[in-house]
Symmetry: C2
Subunit: 451 residues, 2 copies
Amino acid sequence: MSILNGYFTHVKAALIKRDRVKLQELFDEIQPYDQAQILIALEADEKKELITCFSNRQLAEIIQEMTLEQQKTIMEEVGLVRSSQVFAEMSVDDAADLLGELGEVKQQEILRLMDDTEAADMRELLEYPEHSAGGLMTTEYIVVPKYYTAEETVAKLRKLAPNAETVYYLYVVDEEEKLKGVLSLRDLIIASPDTRVQDIMYERVVSVPVYMDQEEVAKIMEKYDFLAIPVVDGNQKLIGIITIDDAMDVIKVEATEDFTKMAAITSSGEIQDINTSPLQAASKRIPWLIALLLVGLLSGNIIAKYEETLTDAIFLAVFIPLIAGMAGNTGTQSLAIVVRGLALGEINKGDIPRLLKREAGVGLIIGTVNGLVIALLAWAWKGPAYGFVVGVSLWVTLIVATLAGAVVPLILNRLNIDPAVASGPFITTVNDVISLTIYFSIATLFLTYLM
Amino acid sequence: MSILNGYFTHVKAALIKRDRVKLQELFDEIQPYDQAQILIALEADEKKELITCFSNRQLAEIIQEMTLEQQKTIMEEVGLVRSSQVFAEMSVDDAADLLGELGEVKQQEILRLMDDTEAADMRELLEYPEHSAGGLMTTEYIVVPKYYTAEETVAKLRKLAPNAETVYYLYVVDEEEKLKGVLSLRDLIIASPDTRVQDIMYERVVSVPVYMDQEEVAKIMEKYDFLAIPVVDGNQKLIGIITIDDAMDVIKVEATEDFTKMAAITSSGEIQDINTSPLQAASKRIPWLIALLLVGLLSGNIIAKYEETLTDAIFLAVFIPLIAGMAGNTGTQSLAIVVRGLALGEINKGDIPRLLKREAGVGLIIGTVNGLVIALLAWAWKGPAYGFVVGVSLWVTLIVATLAGAVVPLILNRLNIDPAVASGPFITTVNDVISLTIYFSIATLFLTYLM
């Protein structure tokens, strides 16, 4: 916001003076994204005033740079009739996303106020699941016939460009609207004016089916470095395109989802930001915490089972959090690598034996080093018997915990459960149980047979 | 790979027959990314054979779709002279990245074998830090004079397009090469042929300084939805551009880095995949684990301090992992939200009081609910005294731990330390210490004054 602060002050001053010319000037100097940031930061009455200065087209451009929540508050200021006009000026995919948030009644009212073809386009887009290719695509793409010359195509482009989401790819379809080819604006520009589209179009088009998950779509676009990708229905009919900016948003959102799932904040990966209320935020986190609390009772149960061992050697209690904690830490490390590898599609079925062998090796090294360190420290602190028991326990624990961190997400992935849900706290709690069992078994054995 | 399996078999068969025509046909049918996947999956001698079938240009295109490690193995097969020819055909930014990996001697040999201007471009790019805008940019952009007409510009574009990284933005500079404007191909196409560039160019260009961190650059491009962004030096001279595909790679890599830092795998966020050897992988993780082990001794120390309390009520030990574990879990949850919020730039200075108030509220609710649940369970298990001590302890612990999870990354961020390093295991271990202190203090107070 730092660069914008100056603008912000000027805008406020111009609003007080109701100086519309100055306001328009100020806004012309900055990007729509920054215009949106300023509009959001204003007080309610200033917002209302400023909105009346913009044309519908301008307001649509600004709104498209906001989050859905922010878009909703602005649309509420605007009123139904103007809302429908602003919707008509937005890209159809952004408009459909916002409409989907408004609730059935308002949605239908706005659609009724809109132009019939526009409304039909939006109704179509509203039907696709939110996280599918269909939910992400726009219907504002450019189609050219394959018999057009480059010159005719450029002429057509000139007419259609203002309403197209991208002009950098043109699509070629046959009589049944089946996708036959794609032509980049780059190749079109290079071609001599009388070349036919069919001679310069690329025929082996990569397209995605309309119900493909949006994360999958984003991965494909990122892999092939496409600026846009066509979406087809079950009959290979072209029904939309997805542009790179929307794919980037998906990549960003999915990374955040993996992150929050990993921390067991929510299983759906729904995002909490600082605007979520404490009660909402707590109610999302509590079910997980209660589940973890119950699993935690298991580890308590193990200690209760070994109460006798513990009474004989009360000092064993000192290493409970350390052993359990280290098991959780190393488990989280292998978990993170496997979860991210699965998310990026870097781990294939054939890689699994190699991956497990690698993690077993890592566990062995980590266990040996850390086991030796703690053995020496515990020896120095409380004598050789504690050094031996604690060292061996940590050694075994770390090997098992490292493997568990890798195996759990692989199993969940196999069961078609998102492995990010095998989150840090979950593996930590599971590893608590494993590690305490190992620790107290070894201690009991030692106390029974060696002392 | 599933769709590619068929191709793979055909390619192998054609290689055995040394059928070059068939090989060329097969490769023409698929995207460069998929060509790269097939080349990588072949045996060493098959690789060698196949590489001889490709033109330098083709090989350059295929190589650009590989990871740097994979690129290196292919270049080693190719030999120095052909390497230098392939380098010349690569985009200059990708070529410079790969050259940077080859070591001083090989780098200089290849540069010597190359065309002088190409070599000069690469030497320049090699000078910028790897993670800066300069390290990410390419010098293959198109510049047009502002007095050109749209028609002249299209004619120039036609000539330059084959060697430009993108043709979708053209840049306008003055006599001193200072950036004066940008013209999108979209606007150029719409313009009538005799319009001058200066009348349709956009003058308030957003550019980035050459030493800006690449993550910052990617955020800006994502925010404004640019397909490319110009890079300028200290004198506002245009020296390169960064394209969207490179920015997407940065976003992907940075998300993985945050993820691995969070799991305390490495502080630099360096990426481990399944190809990292066990020894390498373990050596990255061990320093963190040893650090956590030493911090873990602190929690052991707390228990040792309360050995007397523990001897009086051995059953207290049963709840050690549960109390410590729950503190870690809730701390990780708030940590994840704050770390991701900071990474996405959603948390500004002004938001901090509100954020802390929110997390305090969340902690209060979470603490009350979980405290009540465990109080009832502990009561049922071992009587009202345990119910009271464990319940109150968990209540206080969860409030403090939730706040700690939010405060620690904010403090690190303020100290300019990447808050992702305040990783899950770290906050877990800190919260162990806090929670055990709370638990044993309350238990001791209770035993001393109430029993």
